[in-house]
């Protein structure tokens, strides 16, 4: 008989406890972003710290060997892309801060020379994933536009900061070969892997051609016009209007639109057609960008497309479908298109879930790696290089 009156206060206490937790959670989630908000001057505060850590990889061979070994265990491409994004970042910083020019050029040259030497001595497959050897490139001799495009952009970026006559012939040769091989493809695109073309690599190649027009007086305007007409007709996903990420040499889609490709591609396309580039960015923004409670992230696939998690998407957080690969490259596009709100939201998420490690004047993201940090650094400093070759 005593059980009933004793249970009532206990049940009431549980109910009050549960209500308290729900209220507390709502309150905490509403203010959480404030504790992870980026500094007002990201370029002045975070970029130098990220750069200091990146430069350490090129002054401490043991540290670099360890990091490269870890990255190559997952993806050989990261070893290569970490170099590209760092060289482009150094070029941007040299243009922004002339006092850094001599040091940056020295590091850029070291990275470029070493990368070209490795490619020459160990072959293109050294920087590609292992499946590159499983079948033959359809256009012979085998070359990867992934390597040619980014190496050309490295050489071009270096020359745009300060001319280096020794780099002129290899740059011109890469640009010539890229155009020749892209023209051999039925959809004006060249392979990065056997019978596999990527919008990321083909738009990087177009950007390198734009560098060439400015540096060496070539004229790719007719090719750009042909390429754009073809891409709008054959490489656009009909549902979202976003360029698909990968396709065969004949233009048959392997994947649909993907954040890890389109964010960077839209940045490169600014050197070809600003209006089309912005349209692609806005479509990607609508389909892939998400934000809530002061945090922002990017999905790898639009809701109309079902994709499988892979090395490009990186891990995908269930429910919100935040993709590490897409969110990382979204920094580049958000910065390029001056989308401050989205960029700050992405930074807030990064500070919350990227596990930053501040070590004196250095900064790196524990949840990332050298290439991820280099992409982030590039997003913070990009601008002058693109403006120098005609981007608005």
């Amino acid at each position: 008989m005593n059980a009933v009156p004793e249970r009532r206060p206990a049940a009431g206490r549980v109910a009050r406890g549960a209500i308290s937790l729900v209220l507390a959670l709502a309150l905490w989630l509403a203010v959480l972003h404030v504790f992870f908000a980026p500094p007002a001057d990201v370029r002045g505060d975070m970029a130098p710290r990220l750069l200091a850590e990146q430069l350490r990889f090129w002054t401490d061979p043991e540290l670099r060997a360890r990091e490269v070994e870890r990255m190559r265990a997952a993806n050989n491409e990261w070893d290569f892309m970490g170099r590209s994004f760092l060289v482009w970042s150094l070029a941007e910083i040299a243009l922004r801060e002339p006092a850094t020019r001599a040091r940056n050029l020295e590091v850029m040259d070291r990275i470029i020379d070493e990368t070209i030497a490795v490619e020459r001595e160990r072959g293109i497959h050294f920087f590609l994933m292992s499946y590159s050897k499983e079948s033959a490139f359809r256009v012979q001799p085998p070359r990867s536009l992934f390597l040619d495009g980014e190496i050309a952009l490295m050489l071009g970026a270096r020359r745009l900061v300060e001319e280096k006559p020794e780099y002129r012939p290899p740059f011109a040769e890469r640009v010539r070969v890229m155009e020749e091989r892209m023209r051999k493809g039925p959809v004006l695109c060249a392979e990065s892997y056997p019978d596999e073309c990527w919008i990321f690599c083909n738009t990087a190649a177009l950007a390198a051609m734009r560098f060439s027009d400015v540096l060496d007086g070539t004229d790719h305007r007719a090719f750009f016009a042909e390429w754009l007409a073809m891409a709008k007709k054959k490489l656009v996903d009909p549902t979202t209007g976003i360029l698909v990420s990968s396709f065969t040499l004949d233009g048959r889609a392997n994947d649909g639109p993907e954040g890890s490709s389109i964010w960077f591609a839209s940045h490169c396309l600014r050197l070809v057609d600003e209006a089309f580039a912005r349209d692609q960015y806005e479509r990607a923004r609508r389909e892939l960008a998400r934000s809530a409670l002061g945090f922002a992230w990017a999905r790898e696939w639009p809701s109309s497309w079902v994709g499988a998690m892979d090395v490009d998407s990186g891990p995908v957080v269930p429910i919100v479908e935040a993709s590490a690969g897409s969110s990382g490259t979204a920094f580049v596009a958000a910065s390029s298109f001056d989308d401050r709100g989205y960029y700050d939201g992405l930074l807030t998420s990064l500070d919350f879930a990227g596990f930053p490690i501040h070590d004196g004047e250095r900064l790196h993201l524990a949840a990332s790696n050298q290439v991820g940090d280099a992409v982030l650094l590039y997003s913070m400093v990009l601008g002058p290089l693109w403006r120098k070759v005609g981007a608005p």
Partner: protein, 87 residues
Amino acid sequence: MKPFFTPRGFAVRALVIVVAFAVVHALGWREETRFLSGTKANALEGLVYALLYFSTVLVAPTLVLGAAIFAALERLACGKREETKNV
């Protein structure tokens, strides 16, 4: 340990989470969260660190705030019970 559904129960759980996180942080397991990017790492250490970190920034503050709200609600409820008894 105190029963969970008391203000003190909430606060004690929050403290336990924060202490556990402090331990794995001191052990340097934060670096191992690079497994999240698919980079070679000690995934178990990284996973434990990530779980304790998110518990510390999401669950522990909720428990502390919840404890404060709960204590206030308990005082209100006690007051009402006293009033009912007096009537």
